[in-house]
């Protein structure tokens, strides 16, 4: 059975902290791994990763994929209260499987 597991499920930090969110997967027919940010409603796209070891960056966010160990991490540096959200990891197979998400709360 295809599985996508995120950890931690919940995380509370203070502004300025750096966080690392984890996503591990056991799937067949892997095509890509995606990270989304979900605030109130729809997930919004952050990164798509297809190759191992190549870091993708967008401002204070970065992500990397390890296809040998079957995991990805999402780093957020210098966190701000606006980073508070649920961060979803999804693995694209023939369809797309989501993890349960990590709920990040950034306190002022």
């Amino acid at each position: 059975e295809d599985k996508v597991v995120q950890s931690p499920l919940s995380l509370v930090v203070h502004e300025g902290d750096t966080v690392t969110l984890n996503c591990s997967y056991e799937v067949t027919n892997f095509r890509s791994l995606l990270w989304y940010k979900q605030e109130k409603k729809a997930p919004t796209f952050l990164f798509m990763l297809t190759s191992s070891g190549i870091e993708k960056k967008s401002g204070r966010l970065s992500s990397i994929l390890d296809k040998k160990e079957l995991f990805s991490i999402l780093n957020i540096t210098a966190t701000q209260t606006g980073d508070s959200a649920i961060y979803l990891c999804a693995v694209e197979l023939n369809d797309m499987r989501f993890g349960a998400g990590t709920r990040l709360t950034v306190k002022p």
Partner: protein, 115 residues
Amino acid sequence: EPEVTQTPSHQVTQMGQEVILRCVPISNHLYFYWYRQILGQKVEFLVSFYNNEISEKSEIFDDQFSVERPDGSNFTLKIRSTKLEDSAMYFCASSQDRNSGNTIYFGEGSWLTVV
């Protein structure tokens, strides 16, 4: 920026009623998807649609569900006889194609409450 739009944003329906959720995918996209998220739970894949037919569907997508592209712009999800457990946020999504590197864009969701 182009976006996926969904209507209604919120619908309350009685158990046993039929519901149609509507989506307008991004205009040059060819792949369309429905996902659902029960409150407090993970986003779950329902179905993908390409070239006017279902390409993949999950075990959740049983005979109560159907999808249709009735014209060149709309993509609908029909639930024939709603059950209480169908209460969820339903997300439509679209992508240009299935190649790696093509992002799947989500709509804002339709919140369905079955009473």
